[in-house]
């Protein structure tokens, strides 16, 4: 035990000296950023800090709803966040967002007009597009002989034990609704019940409900197909060129992650400076290249390797987008979704 005591003392001394290190901050303006993990090229943060003298404190979260919990709290300290479409709708409704002064974001003109003025934020009063993509099936053609053009293949017994579903209530119930021919934003309890039954019936065929690990499983060939975001598909295909991605004919979800400034922010001018920086064509190109997700920045896409624009996974053609729907805020109806999801998971 004596040794343990010594170790404890040593470790403590080390950590305490480290903490002194941590507390020695400068007097620079600090921007508190809340984003998805690994969703920005860290070199760009350095570049922004060097160019403007503003320091960026970057923290991460794992779901839109976690961000909502944070932003709904009156003492949140965040200045810039990156929520998705349906959450922006909710944040606007709850009056939690700062109305952006577009005069401070001249680079907004770089954004493809297809991604502006969408239903969740008409006129882009509160949000600026950051990344976008679709939900689809990533599969391994060496293991799947049938054509992959319908969600029904995820219900095909032939592939029992090789199917990976996305472990997310909204996405998985969403694609099931699409498979059944319903609206992805349905408010009908019968539609949800049908989706629930379809998912329970599918459960014995499913290898696992995963999120990020779907990538690992498909890259190393442990599973033959799985539901993924298009940006993740781009990464997986670059790691394992055998893989292919398809957005089923029944339609799917198209999603947008936008940049917002919370109403509570005290550094709105610096936050707008940061947003303008991210909308710069070169910055957007470098960022999209790093993350692998599609950029809505037309000027940025033009600067990227032409293979990106030609890749239907990265840059889906208009007919694919036409059959996809954007998620809407469910309001209280989310409880019907979550009860169905509990039944699926507990089945």
């Amino acid at each position: 035990m004596k040794t343990l005591k010594k170790i404890a003392c040593l470790a403590l001394a080390l950590a305490l000296s480290l903490s002194l290190f941590a507390c020695g901050g400068g007097s620079k303006v600090t921007l508190n950023v809340l984003n998805w993990g690994d969703y920005i090229d860290p070199d760009l943060l350095r570049q922004f800090e060097d160019e403007t003298g503003i320091s960026v404190k970057y923290t991460t979260m794992t779901s839109n709803e976690e961000m909502l919990v944070k932003l709904a709290s009156a003492d949140n300290i965040y200045d810039v966040c990156f929520p998705s479409d349906y959450l922006i709708e909710k944040l606007v409704a709850e009056d939690l967002l700062y109305a952006i002064n577009k005069a401070n974001i001249p680079n907004l003109s770089n954004i493809d007009s297809r991604f502006l003025d969408l239903a969740f934020d008409p006129g882009n009063q509160y949000s600026v597009p950051y990344m976008w993509g679709t939900v689809g099936i990533l599969y391994n053609p060496t293991m799947v002989s049938d054509p992959v053009d319908s969600w029904n293949i995820l219900w095909d017994e032939k592939y029992s034990g090789e199917i990976l579903m996305y472990d997310s209530m909204r996405d998985t119930i969403g694609i099931t609704l699409k498979k059944l021919g319903y609206d992805i934003n349905t408010r009908s309890e019968d539609d949800i019940l049908a989706a629930q039954e379809a998912l329970i019936a599918q459960k014995p065929l499913v290898r696992a409900y995963l999120t990020d690990d779907i990538k690992m499983e498909l890259i190393n060939g442990s599973a033959s197909m799985g539901v993924v975001y298009s940006g993740d598909a781009v990464y997986c295909i670059s790691e394992n060129p055998d893989l292919a991605y398809a957005v089923p004919k029944e339609g799917s979800n198209v999603w947008f992650d936008n940049i917002i400034i919370p109403k509570t922010s005290t550094r709105t001018a610096e936050a707008e400076q940061f947003i303008n920086f991210l909308c710069d064509a070169e910055v957007a190109a470098q960022n999209s290249d790093y993350i692998g997700f599609s950029t809505p920045n037309a000027a940025g896409l033009a600067l990227m390797d032409p293979s990106y624009a030609a890749d239907p996974t990265y840059n889906p053609p208009q007919d694919v987008l036409d059959r996809c729907q954007i998620f809407q805020d469910l309001g209280d109806f989310v409880k019907v979704f979550s009860n169905a999801w509990t039944k699926v998971k507990a089945a």
């Binding site: 170790i7 950590a15 903490s19 003492d75 300290i77």
Partner: protein, 269 residues
């Protein structure tokens, strides 16, 4: 013969347990030199992840936060918790049971609920500083582990020691310091270690109770979505193990020297 067999079996058992404990860590260390970000998909040898690690201030910041919060919160929790256990142990049975039950609450409450209720509390009292919030939250969830590792030691030790010390003229404080604490030291140390370990791993409470400060677990949990930098795994482990080995080998050598010394003295006699 029997004892040698026993020794063999006990050695084998401990060995197997160590293999069980270290197998995943070995895997992580190996994959930290892998070109692909995806665990389990070996594409070639590289030091890139380590280089990238030190180029990313978010990671080094998170590392500093993690280690300092773990150190400070485990020490504070150990001091508070040890004193609490000594006090609890001396209380009447009913009071003690009540307080022991309340002390279990942070263990029983799901992390998420603890995190959000602390967040609401901090909002209510107007505490905004993320680092302080993180510290308070960690001390709070560490406390029961310290208390419940010290209490059994107290139950095991005799109250007579304390009373004897008082009879011999110690003040209660002196008696605690000189008699009780040394007697329950192993419990205190193991409480400290557990508190430190828990603090290193927490991410749910930290996310909600903290405010704009990431620790390593939060960072890892969030970046896991797109693939963790595999070098992160070795970054805490290797320095700690090195440190531990140095300290231990040194103390073993010292003890051996002391033993030799005493043997020599014995022989001379």
């Amino acid at each position: 013969m029997v004892s040698r067999l026993k020794k063999f079996f006990s050695g084998t058992y401990l060995g197997l347990m160590l293999v069980f404990l270290y197998a995943p860590i070995l895997i992580l260390i190996i994959y930290s030199f892998n070109q692909s970000k995806t665990l389990g998909n070996w594409t070639g040898f590289t030091f890139d992840w380590y280089a990238q690690l030190f180029r990313t201030p978010e990671i080094t910041d998170a590392l500093v936060v993690t280690l300092s919060v773990a150190a400070i919160s485990s020490v504070v929790a150990t001091v508070l918790g040890t004193l609490a256990a000594i006090g609890l142990h001396a209380m009447k049975r009913r009071d003690r049971l009540l307080l022991e039950n309340i002390s279990q609450l942070p263990m029983v409450n799901p992390d998420l609920v603890t995190g959000i209720s602390l967040m609401l509390l901090f909002l209510f009292v107007g505490l905004r500083d993320g680092y302080t919030r993180l510290l308070i939250a960690h001390i709070t969830f560490n406390l029961p582990y310290v208390i419940f590792s010290v209490l059994p030691k107290l139950r095991q030790s005799s109250d007579m020691l304390y009373e004897a010390a008082l009879d011999l003229g110690c003040t209660p404080m002196q008696a605690i310091q000189k008699v009780v604490i040394p007697d329950i030291m192993p419990g205190i140390v193991s409480g400290l270690i557990m508190a430190f370990t828990l603090s290193l791993d927490d991410f749910v409470i930290s996310f909600f109770a903290g405010n704009g400060v990431d620790n390593l677990s939060m960072y890892i949990y969030a970046t896991a979505r797109r693939g963790v930098n595999p070098a992160l795994s070795t970054i805490i482990f290797v320095p700690v193990v090195t440190l531990l080995l140095i300290v231990n080998l040194k103390s073993i050598r010292e003890e051996r020297n002391a033993e030799l010394q005493s043997k020599k003295v014995g022989m001379k006699r």
